[in-house]
């Protein structure tokens, strides 16, 4: 990085890439850094080459990037999340590999695969990516895909805003990705606490990369929350009153509420830190009346609702699959609704438990410790409800059920260690140790990751028209369960033995055996990632055998299973009249559920637009320019966003009308297909005989 700022390229010059470090000094750390940058470059080149070779640029632009269809936006969110997941898991593996070789000696206190500063970048990007660019896009994507279908709506309330949200999230992810190649990422952990991340102790671009990625993607998440809330309040099908909504819609509503009220706190704390760094403010500095403790306070005001934003959609998914795959009605619907809403509200009252040791008096700690223990109660209610749903049901051990079982076993352990940590006096002993690392991985991996992967497995046929391979799905699930157990259970032990988190080296040889076990777990996690990729690939190759044109492969009970697979862009040929909770199930019970509607109307769909793409480009330019102090580009990006909004506001935009005849033709074809299919029984669910028309006699949900 150059010392002076050029008016044209800011602080950028040719020394910012990891290749320069490699030229200066060849060791394992610089090789890992340059290797990661090369993977990024080669991946981008290979992706571009494939798109050019297959002539996919046009279709990609026309059918996906400019689409305002919530289902496609959801799929793009999930694709983004899976790419970032790959990077996150590989980074986790590198950190485990590093710590397994990081036993320092008196003569050589620092050893291991990567340099300490590089290690700090790894845990900072790993956390940032996994929370903001894996978990969030996974759940937002799944909600985008499923929510309108379950509500009986054609689309989100604001389809173009939805596109903008996706664009902003992708721009943030792009900033984190490009930090692999250009410059360095911050080293302050995913929370980036000042004063360490203030300009005095962390000059340079690292913290700025984090700030702009968070500011931009956080804005997208806030907008998404508003979109979800308005969709749930205003776009339900006629007759779909609140207590008829499937549970996934309820948890989506909780997520929407929390996104709306929690994300601004993150935007505020990041903006204050940005003002400190760029404009010489003193919100969080040591001098001039700044108070860095307020950063932790505001950050976790967002941070705690955030963990429930992450977990509640998974709870929604588990509610759906426990009911569907045991062929029973969901046990305790009302109690699950009350529990979800309680969690949504109580999650705003516990944030101090993330900084029990910051120095406030015991009374304050106790107040928040009690609130933290209280929030365990509604979560416990839910676990019992799902177990009661499975109880005496005809449970099929499909991949989602393997995830659910893994979730039961592991999440309860993670929840219990959370209750232990909720006691301030115990927290004083284990805070900042790997015990904490084990705890939050123990709730986030079995909760969010298993839940989202189970959901992807469950709704995949609805998106693409064919099922995922069950055998490989189960193998992936088991690898993720085993990988989790071997990677993180040793960290509980290490934490109790006194190993601090985020330490690039350690001197106690007793730690080493546990480190080896954890590294073995990390290998299993890599295997799980590979197995996940293979599941998609092998299912794609066998898509003819796995096709489910009937659209209802699991004998489901909610509205989304009434439509063809893959679901047409207008979703419902006619908006259903909802008469009961689990309306599709009730229709099955009443007899012929695939009866054609009485008439068809023209359908109004939002027109395709590159609006979101342009805003994403402007936001990315703004973020990148601010990171590197390229002021002219920053000004351009900053002004382009309102200009684009104004431009769109002044244009007359006609919606796309799909004529009734086209809808009718497609719908009649679907109904003829269903009529021609042989009903598949539960026993045939995994075989080729399952074409998406279940045996109605077996429906008991």
């Amino acid at each position: 990085m150059s010392a002076s700022t050029s008016p044209i390229v800011g602080k950028l010059d040719w020394t910012v890439t990891p290749y320069t470090d490699l030229l200066h000094q060849v060791n394992s750390s610089t090789i890992v850094g340059a290797g990661a940058a090369s993977v990024l470059v080669l991946g981008a080149v290979a992706g571009g080459a494939v798109l050019t070779w297959m002539r996919w640029w046009g279709p990609l632009y026309r059918n996906w990037l400019t689409s305002a269809d919530a289902k496609k936006i959801g799929i793009m969110y999930i694709a983004l999340a899976l790419v970032m997941l790959a990077r996150g898991i590989i980074e986790g593996f590198v950190m485990r590999a590093h710590q397994a070789t990081a036993l320092g000696t008196l003569t050589e206190p620092e050893s291991g695969l990567v340099a300490p500063d590089h290690f700090a970048q790894l845990f900072s990007t790993h956390g940032t990516i996994m929370i903001f660019f894996v978990a969030m896009p996974l759940l937002i994507g799944l909600i985008n895909f499923v929510l309108p279908q379950q509500l009986g709506a054609r689309d989100m309330a604001f389809p173009v805003l939805n596109q903008v949200s996706l664009g902003l999230t992708a721009a943030g992810a792009g900033l984190v990705m490009i930090s692999l190649l250009i410059g360095k990422f911050g080293t302050g952990g995913w929370t980036m606490y000042p004063p360490y991340t203030g300009i005095q102790y962390s000059p340079g671009e690292g913290v700025d990369y984090w700030l702009w990625a968070i500011l931009i993607s956080g804005m997208g998440s806030t907008l998404t929350g508003m979109n979800f809330a308005v969709t749930i309040f205003k776009s339900r099908a006629p007759g779909m009153n609140f207590m008829r909504m499937p549970l996934f819609c309820w948890t989506s509503l909780c997520v929407a509420i929390m996104l709306i009220y929690a994300m601004p706190a993150l935007t505020v704390s990041s903006a204050m830190l940005a003002l400190d760094r760029y404009a010489g403010f003193h919100f969080f500095t040591n001098e001039a009346g700044g108070n860095m403790m307020n950063y932790a306070n505001i950050f976790w005001m967002f941070g705690h609702p955030e963990v429930y934003i992450l977990i509640l959609p998974a709870f929604g998914v588990f509610s759906e699959i426990s009911s569907t795959f045991s062929g029973k009605k969901l046990y305790g619907y009302t109690s699950l609704v009350i529990a979800s809403m309680s969690i949504a509200v109580i999650s705003f009252t516990v944030w101090l438990h993330h900084f029990f040791t910051m120095g406030q008096s015991a009374g304050v700690n106790i107040a928040f410790g009690i609130a933290t223990m209280i929030i365990g109660i509604p979560t416990g209610v839910k676990i019992y409800d799902w177990m009661a749903t499975l109880w005496r049901g005809r449970v099929r051990i499909t991949a989602p059920i393997v995830y659910l079982t893994g979730f039961f076993l592991l999440f309860v352990i993670g929840g219990l260690s959370g209750i232990i940590l909720a006691n301030p006096s115990i927290d004083y002993q284990v805070h900042n140790s790997t015990f904490l690392v084990a705890h939050f991985h123990n709730v986030i991996i079995p909760g969010v990751l298993y839940g989202m992967l189970a959901g992807i497995h469950y709704w995949f046929p609805k998106a693409f028209g064919f099922r995922l391979d069950e055998r490989w799905g189960r193998r992936t699930a088991l690898l993720f369960v085993g990988g989790f157990v071997f990677t993180f259970m040793p960290l509980y032990v290490l934490g109790l033995m006194g190993m601090p988190r985020r330490s690039p080296t350690f001197q106690n040889p007793d730690f080493l055996p546990w480190m080896y076990v954890a590294s073995f777990g990390a290998v299993l996690m890599l295997g799980a990632l590979a197995s996940l990729v293979w599941t998609f690939w092998t299912s794609y190759r066998n898509r003819a055998a796995l096709a489910v044109p009937g659209g209802d492969p699991w004998n489901g009970a909610t509205l989304e299973w009434s439509t063809p697979a893959p679901v047409p862009k207008w979703t419902f040929a006619r908006i259903p009249e909802v008469k009961a909770r689990d309306d599709w199930g009730e229709t099955k019970r009443a007899g012929d559920p695939w009866k054609a509607p009485e008439g068809y109307d023209d359908i109004e769909m939002p027109a395709d637009t590159p609006h979101g793409l342009l805003i994403a480009g402007a936001a990315f330019a703004l973020g990148f320019a601010m990171v590197w102090h390229i002021w002219w580009l920053a000004a351009l990006g900053f002004l382009a966003i309102p200009a684009l909004l104004a431009w769109r506001g002044m244009k007359v935009i006609e919606p796309r009308i799909i004529p009734a005849a086209e809808v009718e033709e497609a719908d009649r074809r679907f109904r003829a297909t269903v009529a021609s299919l042989a009903p598949a029984t539960r026993a045939d669910e995994e075989s080729e005989r399952n074409r998406g028309r279940p045996d109605l006699a077996e429906f008991a949900g």
Partner: protein, 122 residues
């Protein structure tokens, strides 16, 4: 196709009224922002400055909710709007009150003399 429970209104009829509401809200917002800046520049005691800025901020929130977000306690959506306001106020009270509680406690433990940062510095 009609949309249930959206409360959509005829655009032609309400356009002029809409525009007036927006213009009024915009003028009020600009004015209140000006008041806040004027207070910051003025020679008033710090407590007054903070008080005036807070008041201007609260009034501006009300102006935004009324004129831009069409919140009202009379009409078709009054009950929903009331619940929304109550819920928001509850959550914001938790956040603001909690911050006050935590930061005041921390300040007390650090023997901070007053709540104002410049008073605490020597």
């Amino acid at each position: 196709m009609t949309k249930s429970n959206t409360g959509m209104v005829d655009p032609q009829e309400s356009a002029a009224k809409e525009l007036k509401t927006y213009a009024l809200g915009f003028a009020a917002s600009v004015l209140l922002t000006g008041v806040a800046f004027a207070a910051a520049i003025s020679d008033l005691p710090a407590v007054w400055k903070v008080g005036i800025i807070c008041l201007a901020a609260l009034l501006q929130i009300v102006a935004h909710l009324r004129n831009f977000l069409h919140l009202s306690f009379s009409g078709g959506q009054s009950r929903e709007d009331l619940l929304l306001v109550l819920f928001s106020v509850t959550l914001l009270a938790i956040m603001a009150g909690g911050t006050w509680y935590i930061m005041a406690d921390l300040g007390g433990r650090m023997h901070e003399k007053g709540m104002m940062p410049h008073e605490a510095s020597p």
